[in-house]
Amino acid sequence: MSEFTVEKFMDGQFICKSGDPATHLYFLQEGEVELISETGQFFGRIPQGQSFGEAAILKGGIRGASIRASGDVVCKVISNDQATDLLTSYSPLLVVIMEALLLQQAMNNAVKHS
């Protein structure tokens, strides 16, 4: 994954906003980010070493939440085409696994919020 773009974001800067097209996923190399709801409420934090924006795997998806840098942040940025190509290069089954994990996430969210 060394060939992917590295982007830096300053404290308080929005990396993506709710309602934006989900064109990229992010791997958080340094720092942490905050999850902000459509109504502007803080509802979670993602630490260094984790990813966010996996909905980009679904081409044409829409962001469900905004992401804001909490302190200075460095991310590896992967476009949805690059992500699909990367997953397929290891195994077409890896795309299936990723899709099934995202579907399990949608199911769990529905169960939790029902």
Binding site: I46, G60, Y90, I97, L101, L102, L103, Q105, A106, V111
Partner: protein
């Protein structure tokens, strides 16, 4: 939450009629852009049409997994309904539900018993195939998978 309500289901009948190549079609792209086709619907169409997974039918009353058992396979429900029983909780899941994937990928035993309420058609995701792929992934890609798994396993 002992209400036996159906907590999650996609409209499998409608989505199956759209066909295997719907997501690649102009009509499909328009449906995605307009938001009329939601994320779970798109994932279901893609997974249900995958030729990489075998399909089987679980008969009514048969247990898919019992609480405390390790998962050998994960399951995507294509049609039918299952009952989930977990301590004091009991609810139903329908088409589009994914059972045991995150748990099995990190070697956790099931915390629930899943029983077929109807004839249930499922796609099987075997962990011996999943494990073989995960072993060769670079750390960043594995971290992305682990991020989603952690979210799925969060209480």
């Amino acid at each position: 939450m002992n209400d036996n309500a159906l907590k999650f289901s996609v409209d499998a009948e409608r989505l199956s009629k759209l066909g295997t190549y719907f997501l690649q079609s102009k009509e499909g792209q328009d449906a995605i852009s307009s938001g009329s086709l939601k994320g779970p619907d798109r994932l279901f169409i893609a997974l249900a049409s995958s030729t990489l997974l075998n399909t089987t039918v679980v008969l009514p009353g048969k247990k898919i997994i019992e609480s405390g058992e390790q998962f050998d396979d994960a399951y995507l429900i294509l049609s039918g309904e299952i009952q989930i029983a977990q301590k004091e909780k009991s609810y139903k899941l329908g088409a589009g539900s994914v059972i045991g994937l995150s748990e099995g990928m990190v070697g956790l035993a099931s915390k629930f018993t899943a029983t077929a309420l109807t004839s249930v058609k499922v796609k099987i995701i075997p962990f011996h195939r999943v494990d073989a792929i995960i072993k060769v992934l670079p750390p960043e890609l594995r971290a992305i998978l682990i991020t989603i798994i952690k979210r799925n396993l969060a209480p």
